[in-house]
Assembly symmetry: C2
C-alpha cells in the first residue's frame, strides 16, 4: 500500500475513502477533517476559548491535541466520575497532557455535585449507570463552562459514537433524539453553552491511529461499566455492516444529517426555564440533575 | 411451556409477545393479527375480490389460506419468473393450492412481457437481478389486477421483510422509499390498484409455523438468486438484534409507522401520467418496465 499523497509506504488504509496514507499525511488528513467539521458547522472561532471535555481516552485527548495544533485557544475539563482506579488513571493522563502543554485543566468531581460517585449513584438510585453518568456529564460540562466563561464545550464523539447513537434512536424512532442529534448544538438559552463534536467525521480507528501517531499517552481500557452496554452492541452491528460495505457508517450518519434530520426538525417550541433549585436550564420546575442529586441525598 | 389461552401444551413461543400457544390457539392468534392489519389499514372489504400474489412460498400461500378462512373473495396470481426448476416447482405448488380450494389462479409469464425470463434479463441488461425482478413483479401485478378488474393486490410480505426493507432505506436515508413504505398503499391514479400487506404484523417464523400447522404444501427453497442478497444480510442483522432484545424488529417497524413515517410524508406532488408505450402509470414519458423490455429486446 502506498500513500495517496506522496507514494511512500502507507501506514493506514481508509477503505471508506478508498485511500491509504503514510503517518505525516494521515495526520494532515485528520486535521483537515477536523477543520472541515469546524468550518461546516461554524463550531467556534479563533477568538473564542474552547472548553474541551477530556476523559483521558484517545478521542478527547486527540481532539485537544489537534485543536492546539490548529492554534485554537483551549482549556480542558476533566469530570471525575469516581469509578475507582479507572477514574484515577484517567485523571492522571489528563493532568499530564495539560501540564506538558501548559494548558489549564479544570477538574470537577461528580461526587461533589450529585452526592456520590457514579458507582454509588447506580447503587442508590438503581438507575442505569450510563444514563445517570451521561446526565451528570452534560450538566456539569455546561455548568463548568458557564462558571468559567467559556462559550462552547467540545467533546470527543467520533463517527462510530455518533452512528451508534443514531442507530439506537432509529431502532426506537425516538423523534426527539433524532431532532437533536447534530455535530453542533446551538445555545438556545443564555445559560446554555454551545456543544460541538469536531471529530464526528473521523472513525474510532482513525482517532486511535491519530493518538498513537502523535504519541499521546491515553487510557486504553474502556469504562468498566460499559461492558454489555447496548451502545457497544450497536457499534458491533455497525462494524459488521462496515466490513461488508465500507462507508456504511459514514453514509448512515451523513445521510441522516443531510436528508433525515431535516424531516425531524421542527420549531423548537419547548419553553426553557431555570431550575428552581440550581438555576440551570430545564424544561420543568426542577432539572433532571437536581432530581437525581435529591434522590441520592435521600437514600444516602 | 403452556398455551396462554387454554393452558395446554404450547407448540410455539412468541418471545416478543411474551406468550406461547398450542396449535389451535396459534392459528387463532395468526388470524386475529391478519384481521387487525386489514381493519387498521382498511385494506379491503368483503365486497371486493382480492388478487393474492402468490410465489409458492409459505408467506403468500399462508396469506391466501387465511384470507379464504376468513371468508374473503379472492383470486390468485402467479408470476412465472422463468427461474429454471425453482419457478416450475413454485408454479405447481400454487396450481395445486388453487385447485384444491376451487380458486382461480391467473398465471403470467415474465418472459412474455419483458422478452426474456429473469435469468436472461439479468444477463442481457447487467442490472441487479432482484431489482429487475421486483420492477417486473410490481408492474405485472398491477397490470393483471387492472386487466381482470380486481381493485386490490395483496402480497405476502411479513414483519421480517418489512423491517429489512425499512432497515435498508434507513441505512441510506432514502427518503422517497421511507415516505412510501406502508402496509397499505392507496390507489393514487385510476390505473393504479391498491397494494396491501396483511401479514406485516407477523414474523417469518410465525408465517412458517402457520403454513406448517395448516398443512400447506409450499416451496421451501429460497430463490437461487437471493444468495448473498443485501436484504438477507439485513435480515441477519435484525435477527441478532431480535435475539438480544425480543420485539426489536416489531418496535423498529411499528415505531416507524407510528412516528417515523409521518415525518417523511409530504404532499404527493409527483404528477402521474400514462406511459406512451404501454399506457400504465409512470412519472415520465416511458415507464421503467417498458425501458427494461426495450433494452432486453435490443440486446436479444
Amino acid at each position: 500500500m502506498k500513500c495517496r499523497k506522496c507514494g511512500g509506504a502507507a501506514a493506514l488504509e481508509l477503505r471508506r475513502h478508498n485511500a491509504a496514507f503514510c503517518p505525516p499525511h494521515f495526520t494532515e488528513f485528520f486535521r483537515k477533517q477536523v477543520a472541515e467539521a469546524v468550518h461546516r458547522h461554524r463550531m467556534f472561532t479563533r477568538d473564542e476559548t474552547i472548553l474541551v471535555a477530556v476523559s483521558g481516552g484517545k478521542d478527547s485527548l486527540g481532539l485537544w491535541d489537534v485543536l492546539l495544533e490548529e492554534g485554537y485557544r483551549t482549556a480542558g475539563l476533566y469530570l471525575d466520575l469516581g469509578i475507582f482506579e479507572y477514574s484515577e488513571e484517567s485523571r492522571a493522563k489528563c493532568e499530564a497532557f495539560a501540564a506538558a502543554r501548559g494548558q489549564v485543566l479544570h477538574v470537577e468531581r461528580v461526587a461533589d455535585a450529585v452526592g456520590a460517585p457514579i458507582p454509588g449513584v447506580q447503587k442508590l438510585t438503581r438507575r442505569p449507570t450510563c444514563s445517570a453518568c451521561g446526565l451528570s456529564k452534560r450538566y456539569l460540562m455546561n455548568r463548568a463552562a458557564l462558571a468559567h466563561g467559556y462559550p462552547v464545550v467540545a467533546t470527543g464523539h467520533n463517527l462510530d459514537d455518533e452512528a451508534a447513537t443514531l442507530f439506537s434512536s432509529v431502532l426506537h424512532w425516538q423523534t426527539d433524539a433524532l431532532s437533536r442529534q447534530s455535530p453542533a448544538l446551538p445555545s438556545t438559552h443564555a445559560k446554555l453553552v454551545r456543544r460541538v463534536k469536531p471529530l464526528y467525521r473521523l472513525s474510532e480507528l482513525e482517532t486511535a491511529a491519530y493518538a498513537f501517531l502523535r504519541g499521546i499517552d491515553y487510557v486504553v481500557d474502556e469504562c468498566p461499566f460499559s461492558k454489555g452496554a447496548t451502545s457497544l452492541a450497536h457499534k458491533d452491528v455497525l462494524n459488521r455492516l462496515e466490513e461488508a460495505s465500507p462507508g456504511a457508517k459514514h453514509n448512515f450518519l451523513f445521510g441522516f444529517l443531510d436528508k433525515g434530520r431535516p424531516a425531524f426538525e421542527r420549531v423548537e417550541n419547548v419553553e426553557l426555564r431555570e431550575c428552581s433549585t440550581c438555576g440551570q436550564v430545564t424544561t420543568g420546575e426542577i432539572c433532571a440533575f437536581c432530581k437525581l442529586a435529591d434522590l441520592v441525598k435521600r437514600r444516602t
